[in-house]
Every structure is written in structure tokens, then in C-alpha cells.
Symmetry: none
Subunit: 156 residues, 4 copies
Amino acid sequence: MGSLPALLVRPVAGHSTSTGEHTVSALTLADARQIIAAAEARANEIGQPQNIAVVDAGGNLVAHVRMDGAWIGSIDVSINKAWTARAFEIPTVDLGAFSQPGTQFYGIQVSNHGRVMIFAGGLPLRRDGRVVGGIGVSGGTGEQDQTVAEAGAAAL
Amino acid sequence: MGSLPALLVRPVAGHSTSTGEHTVSALTLADARQIIAAAEARANEIGQPQNIAVVDAGGNLVAHVRMDGAWIGSIDVSINKAWTARAFEIPTVDLGAFSQPGTQFYGIQVSNHGRVMIFAGGLPLRRDGRVVGGIGVSGGTGEQDQTVAEAGAAAL
Amino acid sequence: MGSLPALLVRPVAGHSTSTGEHTVSALTLADARQIIAAAEARANEIGQPQNIAVVDAGGNLVAHVRMDGAWIGSIDVSINKAWTARAFEIPTVDLGAFSQPGTQFYGIQVSNHGRVMIFAGGLPLRRDGRVVGGIGVSGGTGEQDQTVAEAGAAAL
Amino acid sequence: MGSLPALLVRPVAGHSTSTGEHTVSALTLADARQIIAAAEARANEIGQPQNIAVVDAGGNLVAHVRMDGAWIGSIDVSINKAWTARAFEIPTVDLGAFSQPGTQFYGIQVSNHGRVMIFAGGLPLRRDGRVVGGIGVSGGTGEQDQTVAEAGAAAL
């Protein structure tokens, strides 16, 4: 399998919302709206309408918006990027790098009933170092989706 | 089957956004947010957290919010109530009445890959008499979902 | 719609894991094993092999066992009963009562991609009054599933 | 296509639990728990929370656990790695090698409704040379998943 990328050597403390503890930090609708507002501002800045979705620690949708003119095919993609980023606690672009032919997760995208998105635009959302949800952005190029997702994630 | 209710005898003008004309009244994200804000206010008024979804004329999601504490099982239900109300241009509660055992649409709920919701909480959204989208609310009793959907629809 | 059953008039405090607060009580694997052990003991007591599943607050599977001789068709059913009970914060048998023809949630079982189970055997799991997950039991009659689920839920 | 690897030239005796005989060596829940306990011990040893699943000769789930902090996206992956390893009687990492672009099974991962996992972490479970089930592990790198699956399989 070769040497492992540093990214995948996750400290136990950093990748869990439930490691033997009895509380989990919740992601509220107010949090989601703040995240979406920041993402939307960035999307306007670069002139690219986007679908923006936020899921909580359970991977369940908290809020979604489709900006006027954004692709309808990206509704599902944005929601599933958010889910993937939370479910595997990894930016979807990085999961994509590990899922190319010949790499260790090749084929993972057929699991979970088609919910696993392996290209840029999904990021885990963290609070106090813990993953408490995910943001997914879809509607532009990989670079555009990524920068909008980053703006959103930074707002938490 | 008996006579059809007036509700189902739809004037051509009333049920289409694309009957030979070259414009469709679009439902914008700003519209959806206004609708959701009104629905959310009503949900707070009755003290019942809800999932609220708005779809456009194409039946595609424009925006969704899950209020803090609303059921996660209702995410999908709210989105699909909105879709159903727009897709069949009928309140979901009325479609439900026509879908009971022994009635003319019995079984319709298994069509469209599980998207057809046949209980209260979904309403078509109209502008100038035309259906331009749908709102779906899920998270409470049928009565609660219905009143919140009505508040949302009235805001358009 | 008629008068609403008391069961559905949920106090805001009692049905939510994320009502504006920033922590959620987590359900650990140790919790799930304790719940399953109690359910299994009850299943043995009544002489009925069962599938037993436990999900957390996000509706995601924490643990599942199929007792020797239990139906393979019940694997999926047990997991989805657990999911349903958590997702709608209601015993599945009660959701079933509200989903019969002519009642307010008739047709809900086609939502959520076939995950909604509307017969006995699924119960929300509560800690300090909050829903933190669900247990689902399938493999016997409705009565048998129910008593085994109750034994499990009581162990939390 | 080139010559087939020895691995795929399976002796009749080695790949079947039902070739004309009237008994199948059953994998019990007790077996599954023993396998899971060994896998879990190895996961703790390497400090990586995992999802661990065991299926029987029919490919049907016997037991699953998600260790605290393990990815929720890996629930489905672990169950399907176990299924794949049993269904094709091959370690999933080897099936992966035969499923790369340009190789003979390229595309197999879209069959079986997304259940075919083609990366490390799934192993057939054998008793007296016969495949009686499968173990699937997901939650870490390919190397981590593999070592945990091997520890589990060795316990049978």
C-alpha cells in the first residue's frame, strides 16, 4: 500500500464526535445560516451561483440553498459533498486523491448508495477540533466550489 | 369511481407554467427565503420545530431548513411534500384524500421513486394564478404542518 | 383531521437533541452493547431469535446482532425500525397507528427511501429526557418484537 | 486479458459451501462476536476506531459494531466489504487489483447495487477450508483496515 499520507494519520482526539464521551457539540440552524451566508458572499464575489448545503454531526441536512441560476444537478451533489466530508471527516478533494485508480480507496464512491462524492467542494466543519458537521458546495469548477466551501467553513 | 372533484378539473391556464408560452415565472432564492421566514414564524408561534422546503417550477429544491429540534426523518418528507404539491399541482392533503384504498389514485405513492407524499403539509405555490413551485412542511401533526405551509405559501 | 393524540403534542424540551443548545448526549458502543444484551436476554426468555439494532442520535448504526436462527429479511427491518424510532422520535407501533388508511400520516412509509418502518419493534432511546438514538427489533411477532425492544430500551 | 492469477483458479472444494452436500458450516453469532472481539483488540492496539462487520455463508449480516469515533461513512463500507469478500470468496484488496482500469474485472463495483467494495479490509472467513462468511473493516487507511480484518479472521 506504500507510505500513508499524513492527512490520514488522524489523532484520536481530532476525528471524533463520540469517543467515549457523553456529549457532542451540536450544529444549529443559526450556525448553518452563518456558514451559508459566508459561502454565498464568496460565491457572489467570484460571480458563480452555487448550491450550498450544511449537515450536522449525524450527517443529516440542516439547511440548503440554491442560488439563482445554479445547476439543478448540483442540488444532490452539494448535499452529498457535505455528507461525505462529515461521514469520512475529510475534505472531499482529498478523498478524491485517495480514490483514483491504483490508490487505496479506489471504488469507494459506489458505497453508501451513491452518496460518496470524491471531488472538490466538501469540507468537514469543526468546533473545538471536533467534527460537528460538513459543508458541501456544487455548481462551479472544482476550484470555485472549493473556495466557496472554505469561506463557509471559516465562518463557524 | 364517481364524479371527479372540482379540484381536479383544472383549467389549462391554471396548471401550467409552459403552455406554449416562452416565459416561466421563476421562483428565486429570495422568494424562497421570504416563504421560509413566514413559515418559520408560524412554526415558532405554535411552538413546533419544522422542516421547511421550497421547490421551483421544475420541482427542484431551492432551499430547505431544519429548525433546531425538528425530526431528521422529516427532512426527506418536507422536500418531497414540496415536490408532490408542485408535481401534481395540488395540496398533498387533497391528493391524500384521492389516494385512500378504494379511491381513484390509490397506490400513487409508490410512483416517482418514493417522492409522492400524500398527507398534509405540501402546497403548490402560485403567482398570477400559475403554479411556480411548492412548499413542503414536516415535523409536526398534519394540522401543524398544514398551518405552517399555509403561512409560507401566503407570503409569496 | 380531528383531535390530535396526546402522544403527538410533544413538549419542545422532550423531543429534541439540538434545540439551540450546543451539546448533545452521545450514545456509545458500550451503551449499545448494554442495550443489546438486555434485549437479547429477553429474546431468549421468550424463545424467539431476533435481529437487534441500535442507532445513535444521528440515526447512524452503532451495533447490530442477528441471533442464531433469526430471519435474514429482518436485518434491514431491525436497522430501519431503530432509524425510524429515532428519526421521528416515536415508537414505530405508534407511528403505524397514525399511518393507517384515513389517518394523518398515511403514506409516510414510502418516504426516506424505504427506511420508514410502521409496525411494532422500534423505540426511541432517551437519556435525561432527550432522544439520543433508537433500538429496532425484528424477527418475531409484533408483540415479541415490542417486548424485546422495551427490554433493550429500559437498559439505557 | 493475460493469464489468470492462481488466486482465481479456485478448487471446487475451496469455494463452495453447498456443492451437492447437505450441510453448511454455519457461522454463529458467538463466532461473529469472537471475530469482532479480536478485530476490535487489534484496532485498539493500533489506535484506530473502526467499523467491523461479519456476514455468514449467505452473505447476510450477523453482527456489526461501530467503535466510538469511527466514521459513519464506513458503516456501509464495512458491511459491504464483508459481503464482497464472501460473495466472490476473495480478499477485497485482491478483487481491487483485478478491477483497475484495463484489467479483467474493471467496472464490477457498479454491480450488485453498489455492494461490491474493491479496496482493502474485507476477507473471506474459512472453516475447514470452506468459505463460511466474511469480515469487513472500514474506518482507517487500507493498511489499518487490512490488519484489523486479518486479526478478526484469524480468530475463527
